[in-house]
């Protein structure tokens, strides 16, 4: 009998370089159906990991296999037979015999609706030619060109496009205009580095990433390990070396 660890090793071998969405587990094998195809993953894995293992791409933003699942971006929604609503695949553990669909007209609508909300508070000038995970997700949901010209969200009065631009750290910068508040940086700081230098300040629409007690990155407890920069899916935290001429917000206006 294959142990969970053996299955995981196989998964890792097959899928090297691919983000599984959630961290690997090494429980006993569990078989479930993803879009009609049976796939087997270790117990404790997420449906998102199972889908990735099955070769299915599920759009996502807050999930990555180096961090525990969080369930905030709501882009990786799926349909599961016998379950109400549209569970997030990253926070749903696999169970034997689950029948999962990762695409449908309704899922497409919901994912687009979700990503439109992100786009209502993201600099439009940074959409074209971007290569971040956020840009990949935009392509996956069919919004690579941003919001349509007549979309009501284009007139959003509330946004963070004049938010904090923190260039205090010598190696990286934080541009709040591009932050999608997925908390990957906060979780990376906790789970990977164990520094706990980052947190979310405020609540609701005012929620934003801050370092220590709302200080600059340089004066905070940040140790410049770079885990947050690596984790950021939307270029809000980004290395300064990419901008030898200096960083400039392409467009200070609202998208």
């Amino acid at each position: 009998m294959m142990t969970g660890r053996m299955i995981w090793n196989e998964v890792r071998g097959l899928r090297e370089g691919i983000d599984l969405g959630t961290p690997p587990r090494d429980g006993q094998p569990v078989t479930l159906s993803i879009n009609g195809v049976d796939t087997t993953v270790p117990a404790g894995s997420s449906v998102l990991l199972a889908a990735t293992h099955a070769g299915v791409t599920v759009p996502k933003l807050c999930a990555t296999d180096t961090l525990e699942c969080f369930g905030s971006c709501r882009v990786c929604l799926v349909e599961i037979d016998g379950r109400r609503g549209y569970p997030a695949s990253c926070t749903t553990p696999v169970e034997p015999g689950l029948v999962v669909r990762t695409s449908s007209d309704q899922l497409t609508r919901l994912r687009r609706g979700m990503v439109e909300l992100y786009l209502s508070d993201y600099p439009e000038a940074d959409l074209v030619g971007g290569w971040s995970e956020f840009h990949t997700t935009l392509e996956q949901v069919g919004l690579a060109d941003g919001l349509p010209a007549d979309h009501p969200y284009r007139h959003a009065e509330h946004h963070h496009q004049q938010g904090v631009l923190d260039e205090s750290n010598p190696y990286f910068l934080f541009d709040q205009a591009k932050c999608i508040v997925c908390s990957r940086c906060v979780r990376a700081c906790e789970e990977i580095q164990g520094t706990f230098a980052l947190t979310i300040d405020g609540r609701g629409f005012s929620s934003r990433i801050v370092a220590s007690q709302n200080e600059s990155f340089l004066s905070s407890e940040c140790v410049s390990c770079g885990a947050c920069v690596q984790a950021c899916p939307s270029d809000a935290l980004i290395e300064k070396s990419l901008f030898p001429e200096g960083y400039h917000r392409a467009d200070s206006g609202q998208a």
Binding site: G71, V75, G113, P152, A156, G204, F205
Partner: protein
């Protein structure tokens, strides 16, 4: 024997001047050398009569209200300590029609007992439930709770017996019992009234829960806006502990259980059970994904019973008298009684405990007396700020979780807020989105960003800017909120918004049927 005079000390009566009345009464008692003592009880829930004082004469309580401090001297002159025919006299309290017609089970002792007296609690049947639990054992009590059909009164209406059985079956230790007293829904106050009027009932209920599931530690999580309830619960816990009803080997049983009060910091979202657990753990109040269920991995990752205060307060009755006595009330899958809270534009607001099955119209017209303004009812919001609006033609719905859900609404925590025909329902729809925006924990995107976009869309609809496009987008947004949100705050906000648009399209400048 000195005469007992009851002056309510709950938050609502205090807001209406009950302390001034108490001071004036004390002054009269002292000045006239009367043989009387003041008891600060909870409210009977007849808010239009508060502050309502009661005088116990020959074991019968006679009510007077609403009393102001200025009335006190005249009341005493008129023979308050015997039975007076003063203009404020309401007769024997138990015969006041609005009280006599209720079925008070959960609220049996609220307003009756001295909430600071453990002896009074026991004299009124207190601790009969726990005593029986010790006699018949945990499994029998669990069966009673299942038979009773009791469902979560915080809003989700999940069967309490199933939840308890899940925790009882969990093997991890320690286990916890958490009472959710973060009563944040606008227009609701039943949790507060239990804590202020009958705090030992909650202590006993939590102890019964602990006995059934094998928990050792309990927490009452009370919102900071309830200072009187916080004070009362702390006092009750101290008293119960001193009397051996909390701590090691409770009442000679092998049960060891203690309870502490934790105070919220002003976040509606911390009434959501997983956010509340985060808050108790000292973390930012953010919603956890489920699974895992708190019953399996709750507080500090351990099996945890999380119940609303009113749910728990219904348990001592069930434990004392068996599940059938409770299940004898109600209709369909909605067993027992519901303490309904009447608020908003209503002539006689307050608490009405009735078996499920009474109609909304009876509650609003017969108990509530219609609007306070005297104008026609235009809309009723049932189930708190996330509940649907109902129009007058829908009010014959029975109070029943399934019937109200079938009508597109939710019963929630049992709050009913009435609006007259001057209400602007576009404004109320905007308020729903605005409430979500203000109270969102900021974790999931639909709620964090969507609620603010919802406010903006409705504002543009209100002023007539691209009305059709914004309206269509608002409906799309409601779908995203309903299906995409992490918890019920974002998930249910579309209920009041959609129902306002469907029932009152003219308030949005839309043609009838446009929504």
């Amino acid at each position: 024997m000195s005469v007992r005079i009851f002056v309510p000390g709950d938050a609502l009566s205090l807001a209406l001047g009950a302390d001034d009345v108490a001071v004036a009464l004390t002054a009269e008692i002292v000045a006239r050398g009367l043989d009387a003592q003041l008891v600060r009880n909870g409210s009977r829930g007849l808010f239009w009569l508060e502050p309502m004082i009661e005088v116990e004469v020959d074991s019968v309580r006679h009510a007077y209200g609403p009393v102001t401090a200025d009335d006190v001297a005249a009341l005493v002159d008129a023979g308050l300590l015997t039975v007076s025919a003063h203009a404020l006299a309401l007769g024997p309290t138990e015969q006041i029609p609005a009280l006599a017609a209720q079925t008070r089970i959960t609220f049996e002792r609220v307003g009756v007992v001295d909430p600071r007296s453990l002896d009074d609690y026991v004299a009124h049947g207190g601790y009969a439930g726990l005593r029986r639990a010790f006699e018949v054992g945990a499994e029998q009590i669990l069966a009673d709770v299942e038979v009773s059909g009791l469902r979560g009164r915080g809003g989700a209406a999940f069967p309490t017996g199933i939840k308890w059985r899940t925790v009882a079956a969990a093997t991890a230790t320690p286990k916890y019992v958490v009472a959710n007293a973060d009563e944040g829904d606008s227009g609701t106050f039943s949790d507060r009234m239990v804590m202020e009027g009958d705090p030992f009932c909650l202590v006993e209920a939590m102890t019964i829960a602990a006995f059934v599931v094998g928990a050792t530690h309990g927490i009452v999580y009370i919102r900071s806006e309830y200072p009187q309830a916080i004070d009362m619960m702390r006092a009750a816990l101290d008293t119960a502990r001193a009397a051996g009803w909390l701590g090691p080997d409770i009442a000679g049983s092998a049960l060891s259980f203690d309870v502490e009060v934790r105070v919220g910091a002003g976040a509606y979202i911390c009434g959501e059970e997983t956010s509340m657990l985060e808050s108790i753990e000292g973390k930012r109040g953010m919603v956890r994904p489920k699974p895992p269920l708190p019953a399996i991995e709750g507080l500090y990752g351990k099996p945890t019973v999380v119940n609303n205060v009113v749910t728990l307060a219904s348990v001592p009755f069930i434990a004392a008298g068996g599940g059938d006595a409770y299940a004898a009330h109600g209709v369909g899958r909605s067993k027992g009684t519901l303490p309904v809270q009447l608020a908003g534009n209503i002539a006689r607001g307050g608490l009405v405990e009735m078996p499920f099955g009474v109609t909304l119209r009876e509650l609003i017209d017969e108990w509530g007396g219609g609007t306070r303004s005297g104008r026609p009812v235009r809309a009723v919001q049932v189930g708190g700020p996330l509940g649907a609006y109902l129009a007058p033609h829908q009010l014959d719905i029975a109070l029943d979780y399934e019937a109200i859900a079938a009508a597109g609404g939710l019963l929630g925590h049992g709050g009913i807020v009435v609006f007259d025909d001057t209400v602007d329902m576009a404004h109320m729809a905007k308020f729903a989105m605005s409430f979500c925006a203000t109270e969102s924990c900021g974790k999931c995107t639909p709620c964090r960003v969507g609620s603010t976009r919802g406010v903006e869309l409705i504002e543009r609809i209100q002023v007539g800017v691209r009305r059709e496009a914004n309206h269509a987008q608002l409906l799309e947004l409601c779908d995203v909120l309903e299906h995409g949100s992490l918890c019920a705050l974002g998930g249910l906000t579309p209920m009041p918004v959609r129902s306002a648009m469907t029932l009152f399209p003219e308030d949005f400048g839309l043609a009838p049927g446009g929504a």
